[in-house]
């Protein structure tokens, strides 16, 4: 590996930051870091939220004759006003277990990287996951006053319910935040840096009772500009910090000051840690999600400097609200997703943490199986999600796919347009991730409030 001038600059910069003798080469420095006291095994969860409602029906398509013919009849030909993808374009995979008697499926043609990761066993699908307070049948759904989550089919509410699992319409904290509250005392006691970092803006997912997330902009070094060590500058910084601390009696001023104060503290910690980040060999695609996952990988590379043993990251990709021109819009988004997830998995291998990092998707909802006008689809419900990582029991589909029939011909449809009533709850999906992350079974209920209503708290896609 050639050492560039930039690498050397980073190396010298970080030696200064860590107070280590300045004659260490870059490799010497990395050895020094590696020899730090061995922490408990590090583990991280990486959430990729697909904003807008990803159409899961075109991510994973049954390719047995009956299943595909049903799919193509209802969805129609994508080249002629419909949404059905040609059989010849789908990327074939075989799942270890059967769904509706079939294990032959095709992935969306723009996801060859994920096809390979599925086949090699690092990627699993979880079928028909969605917001639910308790198991629900079509008959129950159609009866008066069904026990359904509040404001189904509303973007804002379903996004919040995916993140909070509070299905009553009042959203107070996120399940990752509550999970971090729970594992912090056991795993993160040696660090003051927040256990959850968002590289995609604010997300209630990351807010717990005590946990407040850190947010950063991918590819930037966080910090305050315009200050140096001169006396006037020092005095000005001191005044700024005093202004942040004064109680003005106006609640919103206090709230804003608190955000800034915390950011100044945590940005310093992170920027110092990142100064020692090695250059990753893995090439990330130059896309929005690629940049986010590259930033996450860089933080993973300095995990020992941050001192956290359990970390959660929040990333996102938007634009999935394909009410029109779905074929033209969703394809490039799934390509971006597939390429970025693949690069990120490669980076975890490069950093020797592939077994310790699990990446998973969430999305508002799936979309109607029946096409809408304008070559699009409308807001639906249960969808397929992806879980990726060295610890994942991949090449398999967990949960149960819907029957892909409409209206009265279906046991899955909420209505007549193919809005699948979920058969796996997000509580189960999240609790499976949380137990791998270190949450004990006894601690699950406060984090996953609907879990008690479902038969199994562990779906089996992680150990």
């Amino acid at each position: 590996m050639p050492i560039t001038r930039r690498d050397l600059m980073r190396a010298s910069c970080c030696t200064a930051a860590l107070g280590i003798a300045t004659n260490l080469s870059r490799f010497g420095l990395m050895q020094a870091l590696a020899q730090a006291p061995a922490p408990a095994p590090y583990q991280a969860l990486v959430c990729i939220f697909l904003f807008g409602g990803n159409d899961g029906n075109n991510v994973l398509v049954p390719t047995d004759t009956v299943g595909y013919n049903n799919y193509f009849t209802i969805r129609g030909d994508a080249t002629n006003g419909g949404l059905g993808l040609a059989m010849s374009s789908l990327l074939p995979i075989a799942s270890k277990t059967l769904q509706n008697g079939n294990n032959s499926f095709g992935l969306h043609p723009n996801m060859p990287e994920l096809q390979a990761l599925f086949t090699s066993g690092q990627l699993a699908f979880v079928a028909n996951v969605g917001t639910l307070s308790k198991p629900l049948t079509r008959a129950q759904y159609l009866a008066p006053a069904p026990p359904v989550p509040a404001n189904l089919f509303s973007h804002a509410d379903q996004q919040q319910q995916w993140q909070t699992l509070q299905v009553d319409g009042f959203y107070r904290s996120g399940w990752a935040g509550r999970m971090a509250d729970n594992v912090n005392p056991a795993f993160n006691i040696n660090s003051t840096f927040p256990p959850i970092t968002s590289v995609a803006g604010s997300a209630i997912f990351a807010t717990g009772q005590t946990t407040k997330p850190y947010a950063m902009i991918p590819g930037t070094t966080p910090g305050l500009s315009g200050f140096d060590s001169s006396a006037p500058s020092t005095a000005r910084l001191q005044a700024l910090q005093q202004l942040l601390n004064f109680d003005t009696g106006v609640s919103l001023i206090q709230a804003a000051s608190s955000i800034t104060s915390n950011s100044l503290t945590n940005s310093k910690i992170l920027s110092q840690a990142l100064a020692s980040a090695p250059t990753l060999l893995t090439q990330f695609p130059a896309t929005g999600l690629g940049s986010q996952l590259k930033q996450v990988a860089q933080i993973l590379s300095v995990r020992s400097a941050l001192g956290l043993n359990r970390q959660v990251f929040f990333c996102s990709l938007g634009g999935f609200d394909t009410h029109s021109a779905q074929i033209a819009i969703q394809g490039p988004l799934l390509q971006q997703l597939s390429q970025a997830m693949n690069a990120f998995y490669s980076a975890t291998v490069e950093l020797s943490v592939a077994q310790q990092v699990t990446t998973f998707t969430m999305s508002d909802f799936s979309r109607t199986f029946q096409p809408g006008s304008n070559n699009g689809s409308d807001h639906a419900w249960g969808s397929v999600q992806m879980v990726l990582g060295g610890a994942v029991k991949g090449a398999d589909i967990y949960g149960t796919l819907p029957d892909f029939k409409l209206g009265n011909l279906s046991l899955s449809d909420a209505g007549n347009n193919g809005r699948w009533i979920p058969t796996t709850s997000i509580d189960q999906y999240g609790a499976t991730l949380a137990q791998w992350f270190g949450v004990t079974a006894a601690n699950l209920p406060p984090i996953f409030p609907n879990l008690v209503n479902f038969p199994t708290p562990k779906l089996g896609f992680l150990g």
């Binding site: 604010s202 005044a239 955000i259």
Partner: protein
């Protein structure tokens, strides 16, 4: 509440009952009680009113409003001619030139209130350059400017048929259902019209609080079946027919004028819409596109939730994130009556949905004005200045000139790229709860750990460097103030009045003075002394939260 206020004038008038009057003398320590009607305002009241009703006070504007008073300023704004957005030439793909206009209008346009309201409307009735080309965004912004002082029902009609909204939420070319393959009408516009633009998800009391059932649960305003019925109403419309062209089922994209119906593409079946006073509303089969559309908009507009839903959001955009239910109720009542009387003035036509009446009710309400007297300021008052208002307010305060490019770039870096919202849910939602509090703070959704430093670093660039070649500012007047023996006193008095409507606490003032005095006096140092004070105030939460 331990809020210390420094204000050189002894305010003799309690501002009660929506009275906008104030101290008669602005530069003396007079204490006599004035009996003047609502014709003059204190400097603090004038400055703070500008924070609510314009893109930010300047010294000249404060002086003007002091002289004529708040209601007269409102009246003059309601009659001021509108700014405009020029049409980008065909073939221009970049939104930048249209985004620039938002800032150049905000800095120099005389129709400040119209622009503020149009900005608020653009964040409720969201369209975005993400999918709408600049040739669509410019006429859309003109539409909002035009309708900002009109009637809400007119706005509903105009936006529904605007090609920009048609493109953004897929009402344009929304075909009636077909049979091969079987399709359903596009639900996008129908759903968001109800959820975001008019009635909201849950039924509201007149004061904006939720109506709950016997089990304490909110009552949905509409069902999925309602969304599907409205989706069928909104079938059959296509882009305006360009001059010289002939109407087709799917006209090619064209953004000037209103969308047009192509009748044979309209779903003429009957549609069951929202109940009115408990009675189901059925549109009979066989009606035209336009008849169905107007009946559907009427059906929505008469819903009682519209007044509190719209009123609360406009309050949040103009005045405060957490208005009391009583404040919302007063404004919603004016929405319904179409007329506002207060502060010795009357605004509005008496027609339900009159926006001049609603805006006057919002801005002249006693709760909005209570903070004009620092002694009666409320702990839950205010809202975080969103990036557009933050940047524009700073530039206006210091008389900066701009081509708009720098402000657009910095607003974008603060997650508020003008006219380019990431989704129909705006840059931030009205119900964003500030984590760890029980307070709403919509704009806080884009004040993350990362973005709060972007804000401070913008101030650093503006004060100490440059925010771009097209933006110029001159701080020499403040450098001169910093030169006098009582440097920090005069400098801070001036900045306090301009930027904080005189609300700076003595402790904040003391901290800033210390930082100013850390720069030695002298010809070359005076600018730096002024810059230190300006930086600290602009970067402080006291300024960032308009209160």
């Amino acid at each position: 509440m331990g809020r210390q206020m420094i204000w050189p004038l002894a305010l003799a008038l309690a501002l009660t009952g929506g009275c906008a009057g104030g101290s008669a003398g602005s530069l003396t320590n007079q204490t006599q009680t004035t009996t003047l009607a609502a014709s003059v305002a204190t400097p603090a009241a004038a400055a703070r009113f500008m924070e609510h009703s314009t893109f930010g006070p300047s010294s000249a504007l404060i002086a003007q409003v002091q002289q004529i008073g708040l209601p007269a300023f409102l009246a003059s704004q309601f009659s001021a001619p509108s700014s405009t957005y020029p049409d980008p030439p065909a073939g221009v793909n970049s939104l930048l030139s249209t985004q620039q206009v938002l800032f150049t209008n905000a800095l120099s346009g005389q129709d400040q209130l119209r622009q503020r309201v149009a900005l608020a409307l653009s964040e409720i009735w969201v369209t975005s350059g993400f999918t709408v080309p600049p040739q669509g965004m410019a006429p859309y912004m003109r539409l909002l400017l035009q309708d900002a002082f009109g009637n809400y029902r007119t706005l509903m009609y105009d936006v529904t048929l605007s090609p920009a909204m048609g493109r953004y939420l897929d009402m344009v070319n929304n075909d009636k259902p077909s049979t091969s393959p079987v399709t359903h009408a596009n639900e996008n516009y129908a759903r968001e019209l109800l959820q975001l633009f008019t009635v909201g998800l849950d039924q509201l009391n007149e004061d904006g609080t939720l109506i709950v059932d016997s089990g304490g649960k909110p009552i949905p305003t509409y069902s999925q079946n309602d969304v599907q019925a409205f989706a069928r109403v909104f079938t059959g419309w296509t882009y305006p027919t360009a001059p010289g062209a002939t109407l087709q089922k799917h006209n090619p994209p064209y953004y000037l004028g209103a969308m047009q119906p192509f009748e044979s593409n309209h779903d003429t079946g009957s549609k069951t819409l929202l109940p009115v006073n408990g009675v189901p509303t059925v549109l009979p089969a066989g009606q035209s596109s336009a008849t169905d559309l107007n009946a559907a908009l009427d059906n929505i507009f008469v819903q009682p939730s519209v007044a509190p839903f719209v009123s609360k959001q406009l309050i949040q955009h103009l005045v405060a994130s957490n208005p009391s239910p009583a404040y919302v109720r007063r404004v919603a009542t004016v929405f319904d009556s179409g007329i506002f009387t207060g502060s010795g003035a009357t605004f509005g036509s008496g027609q339900r949905g009159d926006l001049q009446a609603v805006i006057a009710a919002i801005l002249l309400d006693p709760e909005a004005r209570s903070g004009d007297d620092p002694a009666s300021a409320s702990a839950t008052d205010g809202h975080l200045r969103e990036p557009i208002l933050y940047i524009a307010g700073i530039l206006r305060a210091f008389g900066a000139t701009t081509d708009g490019v720098g402000p657009v770039n910095f607003a974008t870096s603060m997650s508020e790229a003008p006219l380019n919202s990431p989704s129909v849910f705006n840059f931030f939602p009205p119900d964003f709860n500030i984590p760890g509090t029980n307070l709403l703070g919509p704009e806080f959704d884009i004040d993350t750990a990362a973005l709060t430093l972007v804000r401070a670093n913008f101030v650093n660039s503006f004060v100490y460097g440059s925010i771009g070649a097209g933006t110029k500012v001159d701080f020499s007047a403040y450098a001169n103030l910093a030169a006098s023996p009582d440097a920090s006193g005069q400098l801070l008095d001036s900045l306090n009045a301009l930027l904080l409507h005189g609300s700076m606490s003595s402790s904040a003032r003391s901290s800033i003075v210390t930082a100013v005095n850390a720069v030695p006096t002298g010809t070359n140092q005076n600018l730096q002394r002024a810059q230190a004070a300006i930086y600290l105030i602009l970067a402080s939460s006291q300024y960032q939260v308009q209160h």
